[in-house]
């Protein structure tokens, strides 16, 4: 469980996060939504302790992230960043093995390699285990980074736009995989732009605008007024057999 207590953050004196309080329960699957510049990515970086809040606190199972070392945090919180081209790519196996880094003292042992190979098999990456990650398709690459996160054996996985640059088939594949991980008890928090994909796969939502939470909860929080005020466009919401869809008008 991760708890945000009234955090504030600014880049060079311009405030980006202006008092956010929220609780992500164990095993929840939440989408952080909001327009460009609303503070989604900053919030994600704060949750991962890449950035430290100027005031307020983030508690992981009751302990402040400030009181934990970066290795201790890495054993609990894994992060899947947006796609980045690697100047010096390594193989898929080595990339996933790197997930063991927070546990390694001198060198990864046979246990670490076993964990890696099991995860590769579970995520259907065995075939490409020795390929350079730069040679993979976008969908495969995203699965490799999720595999690396799993190798950290974390209780929370945070993802920044995991479906960006993926075609619809790979988007579904990645989101379905995240749903399965959640069923295995891992807390999933992701920033995502595609409202309809979020609505389809995520049970919980956190909508932020201008550094503040404007809505939180399940599907029931969505209405046309909210979306129009946050995204500044006219939309229509369709409801069909428990599912909702948002279309621009």
């Amino acid at each position: 469980m991760i708890e945000i207590n009234d955090i504030y953050f600014s880049y060079n004196h311009s405030p980006v996060i202006k008092g956010i309080t929220h609780r992500f329960e164990k095993g929840s699957f939440s989408a952080i939504l909001g327009p460009n510049g609303s503070g989604k990515t900053t919030l994600i970086r704060l949750l991962n302790h890449i950035l430290k809040p100027l005031s307020g606190d983030i508690l992981l199972n009751g302990i402040s992230l400030n009181k934990m070392t970066i290795r201790e945090i890495a054993r609990e919180i894994a992060y899947v960043p947006q796609f980045q081209y690697n100047v010096f790519p390594s193989t898929v196996f080595d990339t996933v093995l790197l997930g063991r880094n927070p546990y390694i003292r001198w060198s990864p042992g046979s246990g670490d390699r076993k964990i890696t190979s099991d995860i590769l098999e579970k995520l259907h990456l065995s075939e490409v285990a020795l390929k350079d990650i730069n040679q993979l398709s976008g969908g495969q690459r995203q699965r490799v980074f999720i595999a690396r996160a799993l190798a950290q054996q974390p209780s929370i996985i945070i993802l920044d736009e995991p479906t960006a640059n993926l075609d619809i088939r790979y988007q579904n594949e990645v989101l379905e995989l995240l749903g399965k991980l959640r069923q295995a008890g891992i807390t999933i928090i992701m920033a995502i732009h595609d409202l309809n994909q979020a609505l389809r796969y995520c049970p919980e939502f956190l909508i932020i605008d201008d550094g503040r939470i404007v809505a939180e909860g399940g599907l029931e929080v969505f209405d046309e007024q909210l979306i129009e005020s946050v995204y500044k466009i006219k939309v229509k919401i369709f409801r069909e057999s428990g599912q909702i869809y948002i279309l621009p008008r």
Binding site: R45, N48, H49, I50, I70, R71, I73, A74, R75, I77, A78, Y79, P81, Q84, N86, V87, F88, P89, S90, T91, F93, D94, T95, L98, G99, N101, P102, I104, W106, S107, P108, S110, R113, K114, S117, D118, L120, E121, S126, A129, L130, K131, D132, Q135, F145, R148, Q152, I158
Partner: protein, 357 residues
């Protein structure tokens, strides 16, 4: 434990990388033995063995212990230091053009040497009968070169502390430091007299014959701990290779490692440059050649680059002593002459790590 298909493939893959390390180690030893016998006065294997076992004659003793052995050890140490510093600089700057000289170190060292020549008369030089320029008072030159290369790194540390240790800040500061020190050296060359000028220019030629046992001792006290430090952090450098944010979330303190890696690389490089002058190319090209053969996993790349750098510099030094024998060329010239075509050959042939799995 049952070995899965994936594990088998991966173990096979690592075995191949380990065999590369063994091959280069053997090559290095072969070069080292060759290096003992090659030179203006021939030393046979038998001479070497008798000297080692304490039965050699005085001349051979002198040649092996005071000339050849220190020179070979200097090549091994310097080659490893330059090459591994290159690997680490490339990784922490996330830039294929990273090298021990990216941060302006070599220019700063050259300036330090030039300053010593002009201020302390370290360069009261004369031509010996072999037509070589001799720098008298070499210690002041070395100390000054070392001091100024540390000034160059200090400049970058200050920028990193104030504005963040990002690759961009470091590379830009390095370029500015290079330009600044080059201008200062040019200024000194302009006011120098002919003898000083030749001493300044002579110093910049990388030459492994400049040192002896005392220099080697000082060098190894700096270089060996640095190499060990780099090897210890190999998995952290792998993490940095996958991006700053990813590295952080994998438990690696990227800014701290970037700064400490840079300082360590600077120390190791300064320990080579201030004793032997500028040995170009080893720190840039050897890492890339090794990357192309075994890939960029720092776990193999760091030891691979260390051994390959040593073997490469040893090989170049043997060439330097034989091409126009009995004259001995500065090894710094050979490293570029051999390194450039070798790298272009590898690039053209498309020999990449992907073909060796």
């Amino acid at each position: 434990m049952i070995e899965t298909e994936v594990l088998k493939k991966y173990n096979n893959y690592t075995r191949k990388r380990k065999s590369y390390l063994w091959i280069v180690l053997i090559l290095m030893l072969v070069f080292a033995v060759l290096g003992i016998s090659v030179g203006p006065s021939k030393v046979s294997m038998g001479d070497f063995l008798s000297v080692i076992s304490g039965y050699g004659d005085e001349t051979k003793n002198q040649i092996i212990f005071n000339l050849r052995l220190p020179r070979i050890l200097a090549a091994i140490l310097s080659g490893a230091a330059l090459s591994v510093s290159g690997v680490v600089m490339q990784s922490i700057l996330r830039n294929p053009l990273g090298s021990p000289f990216t941060l302006g170190l070599s220019n700063a060292a050259a300036f330090g040497a030039a300053l010593a020549v002009i201020l302390f008369g370290a360069g009261s030089t004369f031509s010996s009968n072999t037509d070589a320029v001799i720098i008298s008072n070499p210690y002041i030159t070395t100390i000054s070169a070392f001091f100024w290369s540390l000034v160059a790194s200090l400049l970058i540390i200050i920028v990193a502390r104030k504005k963040g240790a990002t690759p961009e800040n470091m590379i830009l500061t390095g370029i500015i430091a290079s330009t600044l020190f080059t201008a200062l050296t040019t200024g000194l060359q302009y006011i120098a007299d002919d003898i000083q000028l030749s001493a300044i220019v002579f110093w910049t030629f990388g030459d492994l014959s400049k040192g002896g046992w005392k220099e080697l001792l000082i060098q190894s006290l700096i270089i060996l701990p640095v190499l060990l430090y780099f090897y210890y952090n190999r998995w952290n450098y792998n993490a940095i290779d996958s991006g700053d944010e990813a590295a952080h979330s994998l438990g690696t303190n990227t800014p701290a490692l970037r700064l400490s890696g840079m300082i360590a690389a600077s120390l190791a490089t300064a320990a080579v440059v201030s004793f032997y002058g500028i040995i170009a190319f080893v720190g840039l090209v050897v890492p890339h050649i090794v990357r192309r053969i075994i890939g960029s996993n720092e776990r193999f790349l760091i030891p691979g680059a260390a051994l390959s750098g040593s073997a490469f510099l040893l090989g170049c030094d043997i060439l330097a002593r034989t091409v126009i024998s009995p004259m001995v060329l500065p090894v710094g010239i050979i490293t570029s002459l051999v390194g450039a075509p070798l790298f272009i050959f590898l690039l053209m042939r498309g020999i990449g790590s992907s073909q060796w799995k």
